[in-house]
Symmetry: none
Subunit: 209 residues, 4 copies
DNA sequence: GATGAATGAGGATTCATTCAT
DNA sequence: AATGAATGAATCCTCATTCAT
């Protein structure tokens, strides 16, 4: 679970290439070359290409949970504010790890990697439960309406954000933003996505259908 | 654009295998074997594995547009009803072509296939414009509020639905539905997804934030 | 069980190389190169290096049994003559297939290949039983003494012959035959081995210990 | 020629693995792991995998000669008894070093190792000469007949014993001894082999053909 | 004296494609 | 029109060995 400098180098290179070209579309040669290491080193450090994939997930999922959890304890925020924070947090995390989220979206490998599959399931489950508590809190104090399907809500947050990221090039082209700097575009997307999801959630959480 | 029986057989087999194992994770041998045709026939009919992928997209995208367009002309429906119909229509189509939608979600190949890329872009653009018109119609007659971001709305519909489909196994497990028959589960998903998206859209389209 | 020209070419090349350098000591590259075929053709025809090894055994063992069996039916020969014929026959066969017999002597692979293991076992069993019948015949008519251990007798015939073949270079050197032509040496060995085994068997079969 | 504790450990582990899986079928990793030493230690101590193989031969052949030689000087024994002692001695030695004898049977390596080749040649030569002297002694005192081919006699002893050892599993199966304990089976083999060879030799040494 | 890290070379196999038929 | 035979290129991985420490 602790990786040395070279291992991290390999992991991050692989993450990017897997995200771009797919797992099978990326050869260990590519990874080694891009990471500036010997080909044999990948097997040496990770055992196999598959194990390397697993290592990416361990590396990325390992330390993400705590951040959100700490927020729940912050009693100063209202449920609505908490939801907004979660949205921002998710978008922030996803934008900062686009490659990894692209990887997660290639669900075939998650499905095939038993170890990872469980890790992801647990992670999803915990996140959902966390949001469920916030929603219940909001329902108690009257901020939120009854009959809220948390699982679907999560699917909307994650699905919308993922989909948007996946088709960002389409979006750039559609809005004549092809020449915008990557940095500016990222900011734009964060604001756009954030506002949309917050509005969406506020509307659906507070208003009776 | 017109494929003979064997070509269709190959296309549909490839679609399923590509969806399940990825493009590079599927060999032409696999496809040939599953389709019950000679290996050389794939190159013979489609030129190459890549061209076969393109053929899948041509085959699937080709005749989907008309259906939705015909709906817009139906003036009996209110904007809200039209939106609901679009949601149902999208879900129905996606559920009936899960393999293909899984393929679309592996955006790397769409990105790499110039021909397809354009096809998909056009398709998305037209769909978005269609929804935009409905929204404007609803804004005119007061059913919908102002300040509606149609692009984000589309991202939410497509993203939520896709994401839900992608993680249906996770959903089954989470809700103790692992033993439910595929048919029942599909019905359940359609209703669940449909209701969620309709409520979501209604809330966000009609209520001021 | 029927191999085409190229397959036979590969099989015989592999047989020789395996015999000379061992199974693991021989690369498919070597085989392909020596057989004058493409490297991929070996996997293409035989599936794998291991399967090729099996093919060698199937190829060689397949049609050897009949020859000896036909001899048993020949009632003109006395048991002693039959034994002598078997000795000659074995030596002849072994000398003509030294590579294969060298392969058989590398018992690790026979042990590891289930299919072959059984084939070899059956072959050995049948040969032993055949000799057993001849011995019993000889015991009945008084030519041979009682208390003959056929299994050990077989071990002596096979073991002596094999061992002699294996160390033929040692023998050449010991007897100043390094310059003798291969052909002459083969003849010499056949006579030498034949006489030795026949004398050995005659002595042990006819004289009480 | 003198090996420290760790070297002996490596040698004996390698001997066993080489015997079981062949030289090329055994990796230095396997040896290091089984011997419980660092991988680099093998190159460090022996220079290379090949040199390690040589070391095994040096280690085993080095101190075997003396034992038999001392026997020749014992004038109390008759030639027949001496031959019998040699048979027992050989079987005993071989049974106690089955791995090594298996190695010797893989003659390709002996052939390839110049140093070892010579060592083995000398060893064989000396043993043969020793037996020749005993035979001559027996011929002088009338115990043995004339016209005895000592080289072939040696081939029979070594070949029969080796072959029997090599196919002990076949023998176990043939005689329903698959469940017999290793210890019991070893005893059985020693007696069986010993009696057979002694009878064989007695018959062939004493009776005119 | 001993070893963990690292690597170039080579291992077997699979791949998509071609071509003669 | 359709295909069995064949192949060059590329796949992942393991190998024995080296070297700095």
């Amino acid at each position: 679970m602790e990786y040395n400098e070279k291992q991290v180098q390999i992991i991050e290179t692989a993450e990017q290439l897997f995200a771009t070209n797919g797992f099978e579309g990326t050869s260990v040669r590519d990874i080694a070359q891009n990471a500036g290491v010997n080909i044999a080193m990948i097997s040496y450090y990770f055992g196999s290409k598959e194990k390397l994939m697993e290592a990416i997930f361990v590396y990325r999922i390992g330390y993400t949970r705590l951040k959100i959890e700490s927020m729940l304890k912050d009693t100063v925020l209202s449920p609505t504010q908490k939801i907004e924070k979660i949205v921002d947090s998710y978008i922030e995390k996803m934008m900062g790890n686009q490659c990894f989220y692209r990887l997660m979206a290639q669900e075939q490998h998650v499905r095939e990697m038993q170890n990872i599959s469980e890790l992801v399931f647990q992670s999803k489950f915990l996140n959902t439960e966390m949001v469920r508590k916030i929603v219940q809190e909001g329902q108690k104090n009257g901020e939120f309406k009854k009959n809220i399907d948390v699982v679907m809500l999560m699917a909307t947050m994650i699905g919308t954000a993922n989909h948007f990221i996946m088709q960002q090039n389409y979006y750039r082209r559609l809005n004549n933003m092809l020449d915008m700097s990557e940095e500016d575009f990222q900011k734009h997307v964060k604001r756009k996505l954030g506002n949309h999801l917050k509005n969406l959630f506020k509307a659906t959480l507070t208003h009776e259908a």
